[in-house]
Amino acid sequence: MALPKDYDDLPGTVVFDFDQARQGYHLNMFCMSLMKPENRAAFKAAQRAYLDKWPMTEEQKQAVLKRDWNGMLQLGGNIYFTSKLAATDGLSFQQIAAIMTGSTQEEYAQMMINGGRAIEGNRSKSEWKKHG
């Protein structure tokens, strides 16, 4: 029997557990390869061809090509790995965080300066549903 996942109720959050890690193994290993400058160059020169060297699913490859940062997490990506793809694009953690929340850079940075996203109303999926 599978372990119960009490964290499935967290809104807007993919918990990177060992099941996700198994699903995203090659996606994350691709991201990891971008730690080497020569691989970053090869990827930038021919993204699809570089991706095809990794036994990822087509869905995962499309998420990478579209830079669908939330989609990559859903498909087993982990933020510390996908952030290496972001770095290859010249994007910081804060810049991809803004994209994942659907905010502009300015809005997101300002939210953080104002003290960050409040915990109230952000504890469970039901709270998000209630407020649409």
Partner: protein, 281 residues
């Protein structure tokens, strides 16, 4: 005999390292962050540790998904700086203390903590940013550093209680080492933050304040915090705070808080910092 004289906790936000490396410490956004560590730098310059044990997590730098040790200890003589996608940080390589590290392994395993020995490892911002905050940027780091790496990336991560007990085991090991060394132990990461998904940017100042208060007053309350509570109340990456409990477990029951600093935001994160000295009680 070696002994642990103090514990330091500090967040290890990569953007803080980047701000330092790019000479942006004087900018209005970053000035308060670095100002918050000025007194801490003076403190550690006076304490002059012979060795620092730095509990941190690797962020997909030394450990990919090929090997995921829950607890690992660096036993090498030197740890190069990792390239995390932007080129390696321009900081000195980290010198280890292989004799003490190896001693800790042997003591801990007999104490039922089966640490993974790592003899070749690059270290990333998780380890180097707290060093920068505490030591600035010397040509060489002022003392050897023993990296203790904890898996807080792939869930489930070790429990707070397990981490606290590991701290106890590290202390026991240090105290049975037959060189007269003064050791400072670092717990890094945290505090409240979530880097990923539509809920990114979560900060919970009340949770963090309670955590900082209880770290000296009631660590037993902290070791009982469940994984779900960290995730829900303080964000998916706040679970890094279990590493602070390794530091705390290595200290006396009664500690003296000599320094505290809390600042929001540093990039996506609530930056927390605290220093404890042992009291002998």
């Amino acid at each position: 005999m070696a002994r642990i004289v103090a514990g330091v906790a500090a967040s290890h936000i990569p953007a803080v390292g980047a701000a330092w490396d790019n000479g942006r410490t004087g900018e209005p956004y970053w000035r308060p962050v670095f100002a918050g560590f000025e007194a801490s730098k003076e403190w550690i310059a006076k304490v002059k540790p012979d060795v620092c044990i730095v509990v941190y997590n690797d962020h997909a730098s030394a450990f990919s998904l090929e090997i995921i040790p829950t607890f690992a200890i660096g036993c090498a003589a030197e740890f190069p700086i990792a390239d995390e996608g932007w080129g390696p940080r321009p900081v000195p390589p980290v010198k280890g203390h292989p004799e003490l590290a190896t001693h800790i392994v042997q003591s801990a395993v007999l104490d039922e903590f089966d640490l993974t020995v790592v003899n070749k490892m690059e270290v990333d911002h998780g380890l180097t940013v707290p060093l920068t905050l505490m030591f600035g940027q010397p040509k060489e780091w002022p003392c050897p550093v023993i990296p203790v790496s904890v898996n807080v990336v792939v869930y489930p991560v070790p429990t707070g209680n397990r981490c606290y007990m590991l701290g106890r085991a590290i202390r026991k090991a240090v105290e049975s080492f037959d060189q007269d060394l003064r050791v400072v132990i670092f717990g890094t990461g945290g505090m409240s933050h979530q880097l990923q998904g539509p809920r990114a940017g979560l900060i919970n100042r009340e949770f963090d304040t309670r955590f900082l208060d209880n770290l000296s007053k009631d660590p037993q309350a902290l070791v009982k915090i469940s994984h779900l509570e960290y995730l829900r109340e303080a964000g998916s990456e706040a679970i890094e705070l279990v590493m602070w409990l390794i530091m705390r477990g290595a200290l006396d029951d009664k500690v003296k808080e000599v320094r505290r600093f809390y600042h929001v935001p540093a990039s996506n994160t609530a930056l927390g910092h605290i220093i404890f000295e042992n009291t002998g009680r």
